[in-house]
């Protein structure tokens, strides 16, 4: 299972991650938190079949830690899991004070 590879890599960070969404109220208790979700594919076609399958999606992490440590931790974990990724955006949420990191992955 391709997504299991991603889940294992994110579990290794020991940061709180949920698949698609957190249960109601959980995020508020946790503070810094992350979400990962798949939203497409990038398969390799050959001989009229999907010769290699790849899942694409995003990993989002919301943190008030301005040190950049969570970013490094997550990126190292993705590298260790041999997951293809790029940092898509870093945004600041004025309403909540969170820094929102967004990575696009393919696995």
């Amino acid at each position: 299972m391709a997504l299991q590879t991603l889940k294992d890599a994110l579990d290794a960070t020991q940061l709180p991650f949920a698949h698609f969404a957190w249960a109601k109220g959980a995020k508020e208790l946790l503070g810094d938190h992350g979400v990962y979700a798949e939203d497409g594919a990038n398969d390799l076609y050959g001989d009229d079949i999907h010769a290699e399958k790849a899942v694409e999606g995003t990993v989002d992490y919301y943190t008030r830690d301005g040190s950049g440590t969570p970013q490094t931790t997550i990126e190292t974990a993705l590298n260790n899991g041999k997951i293809a990724w790029y940092l898509n955006s870093i945004q600041f949420e004025e309403e909540t004070g969170y820094v929102h990191y967004e990575w696009v992955f393919q696995v």
Partner: protein, 138 residues
């Protein structure tokens, strides 16, 4: 001694010069078609859930900017222009939908649409360029 004679080099040079002068226009023609395909794909993927707030304004606001020529790199951008009925910029709404927020689940619709249509758009550019170049080199 063998001699190779090549007639018509002057005509060929003229054709190449003509093609060189027309190149920016040809590139714009090719890019415009492909950018239209990308914009249509994004429009198609635009989430219905946005309709409650913007009543379809987001979908209707998708368009292309004018062409830019950055040192021979000719490009256009797909943009969301205008504001919703509460005065919020539509590109901001698109950004929130695409990336989500800590309290709002994301609904990525731009990147998947671009991924879906990327190869077809590249092929369309190639086809349009070949077609136009052949016209000039006849």
């Amino acid at each position: 001694m063998a001699t190779i004679k090549f007639d018509g080099i002057a005509d060929y040079q003229k054709q190449l010069e003509k093609l060189g002068r027309a190149a920016p226009g040809i590139c714009k023609y090719a890019v415009y078609d492909a950018a239209g395909m990308v914009a249509d794909a994004i429009k198609e993927n635009c989430p219905e859930s946005d309709d409650k707030r913007t009543q379809g304004d987001l979908r209707r606001s998708i368009g292309l900017t004018g062409f830019k020529n950055d040192n021979g790199f000719i490009y256009t951008k797909v943009v969301f222009s205008g504001y919703d009925r509460k005065g919020t910029p539509l590109d901001l709404i698109a950004r929130v939908l695409e990336s989500g927020k800590s309290y709002k689940r994301k609904h990525a619709f731009i990147r998947p649409a671009v991924n879906k249509v990327k190869r077809a758009a590249e092929f369309a550019i190639e086809k349009a360029l070949n077609e136009k170049i052949n016209q000039y080199m006849k």
